[in-house]
């Protein structure tokens, strides 16, 4: 499984060399308060998450992408839980409705990622204007004798409970396997993005099987957002970290694009774009819902008519952090090197060159 994922990632990279155009990511840093699902374990919570997404060219009518990330979070004993993953996804190129499947491998541990993990996942997505709905299924397997016998620390309660229900094998593998069924609804309103997630754990063990999270991002600058989140997480068996009720505040830096949930179990799949429509026009950011594509470009009087790449935001929109003055502006967009077009949500007027240009207003 791990070898297959690595080979697939290598093939994707070979097929489409890295370019800044298709690479995006986010860096989240936050802190807050947590009440752990473990008797008497309250305390502060610190989080860090780096996520990246690389979209390659279409393959057999599907839109592949490589996704990876590193998550750091404190646990009840104030040590640092580390988790990383690297994998690939295949997205259908449907308009407003689509599906995806993916696989990832990685590592996890306390202090260092000593235990391996693998994940198989798939889901459905539906775009409704600026809103998106995602439903997905993921199967995660942690396997490591180190976790089973040597590194159980203060967060042992749930890991031991898991062991009772699914004893560690002679080789120490299969410490935790579980399936999560998740859903996430998102909507963008001006410079604000709101999200609500609900996850139900089907396999595995633990007293808690349902997680939820309400989150919001306020983009105070084109690449800087303030993130707030509150919810109740599920235990991370591989890390021997229990679930927790939490509330956090933090900063999100858009390192290109592709926002990514800081908890893998809550991570929504990318959503397919619909027909071109300008859905956000502020002095700091433009966002366009577009047709299924692996790359999108925009040009207008705010770029001196030089094409700039739009960045997928992971929520079905193509965005551009930009400094726009209030008033009237003109633009064109194109997808996958197609013709320059005028998105809905703008006034299409003759451009004087045999085509049309979109006219829109920023206040």
């Amino acid at each position: 499984m791990r070898r297959a994922v690595l080979v697939a990632v290598a093939l994707l990279l070979e097929a489409a060399p890295l370019s800044a155009l298709q690479l995006g990511g986010t860096l989240d840093v936050g802190a807050g308060q947590a009440t752990w699902d473990e008797p008497g374990a309250d305390g502060s919570l610190t989080l860090g998450a780096l996520g990246a997404r690389y979209r390659t060219g279409p393959i057999a009518g599907l839109a592949p992408e490589i996704v990876g990330g590193v998550d750091l979070s404190s646990e009840p004993a104030a040590r640092t839980a580390v988790q990383w993953s690297l994998g690939g996804r295949l997205n259908t190129r449907g308009a407003t409705t689509g599906a995806w499947i993916g696989a990832a491998l990685g590592g996890a541990g306390i202090g260092s990622p000593t235990a391996g993990l693998t994940r198989l996942e798939g889901g459905l997505r539906q775009a409704i204007g600026p809103a998106g709905l995602h439903v997905w299924l993921s199967r995660t397997t942690f396997g490591s004798s180190a976790i089973g016998s040597k590194e159980l620390g203060r967060g042992d309660t749930l890991a031991l409970a898991d062991t009772v229900a699914r004893p560690v094998s002679a080789s120490g593998r299969r410490l935790a396997e579980y399936t999560d069924v998740g859903s996430r609804a998102t909507i963008g309103i001006g410079s604000y993005e709101l999200g609500l997630s609900l996850v139900r754990r089907v396999g595995g063990t633990g007293v808690r099987r349902t997680a939820w999270e309400a989150s919001g991002v306020w983009w105070v600058a084109p690449s800087i957002g303030l993130v707030g989140a509150a919810g109740h997480s599920l235990p991370q068996f591989g890390l021997a970290v229990p679930g927790a009720r939490y509330g956090t505040l933090g900063i999100r830096l858009a390192l290109g694009a592709a926002p990514r949930s800081r908890r893998p179990s809550h991570e929504p799949p990318p959503i397919a774009a619909s027909s071109p429509r300008l859905v956000l026009a502020t002095q700091m950011r433009l966002a366009i819902i577009g047709p299924p594509a692996t790359r999108a470009e925009i040009m207008g009087d705010f770029t001196d008519w030089r094409p700039l790449p739009l960045e997928p935001d992971g929520e079905g929109r193509w965005t551009l952090p930009v400094a726009l003055t209030s008033g009237v502006h003109h633009l064109n967009v194109r997808f996958d090197d197609g013709p320059w077009t005028v998105p809905a949500g703008t006034v299409a007027v003759d451009d004087g060159f045999g085509g049309q240009v979109g006219l829109f207003v920023v206040r």
Partner: protein, 176 residues
């Protein structure tokens, strides 16, 4: 005689130099650039904003239009700005002219623009005209959009009232 010609040339230099825009120098061939710069000088002489003309030329360059077509498109934009200013009156500010030109392209008539000038906010009509254009962009019929904007103008609405109107009638595009 040569001295006189030199003096005339020097007198002309400031206007020509003023019209030179490094963006045009980099992206237009010299023949096209000279004609566009002449239009910029004319626009400046008439008190019209020149940035829309520069942008139209850059747009043509990016879209691979031949030089004569770029010049023609810039002339057309020049005409739009002129009509907008005629409808608004001599004292119109640059942002009002640009907004009026956009409104005309979105379907407003010069009479509509003149009416807005008469009954709209004394501080300027750039916002009401931009709101009209935005409503049309959102899919409203020109007549309906104009009726909404015009009624508010007659009631004495200020810029904020027009922005509120836009938010009520056009929630599809966020613009806080």
């Amino acid at each position: 005689m040569t001295g006189l010609l030199l003096c005339l040339a020097l007198l002309r230099l400031p206007a020509a130099a003023e019209a030179q825009d490094p963006r045009l120098t980099a992206r237009l061939d010299s023949a096209t650039r000279v004609q566009v710069e002449a239009l910029l000088v004319s626009a400046r002489d008439e008190g019209l904003p020149t940035e829309p003309l520069v942008q139209k030329a850059l747009e043509g360059s990016s879209k691979g239009a031949p030089g004569p077509r770029i010049v023609s498109a810039v002339e057309s934009t020049f005409g739009d700005l002129r009509r907008a200013r005629e409808a608004l009156g001599r004292n119109a500010a640059s942002d009002e002219i640009v907004a009026a030109a956009a409104a005309l392209r979105a379907g407003a008539t010069p009479a509509m623009v003149s009416e807005m000038r008469r009954v709209g906010p004394h501080a300027g009509v750039a916002v009401p005209l931009a709101v009209f254009t935005d409503l049309v962009a959102g899919g409203m019929a020109v007549d309906a959009a104009w009726r909404s904007v015009s009624e508010l103008a007659h009631r004495g609405g200020d810029d904020q009232a027009f922005l509120d109107l836009r938010d009520r009638l056009r929630p599809a595009v966020s613009s806080p």
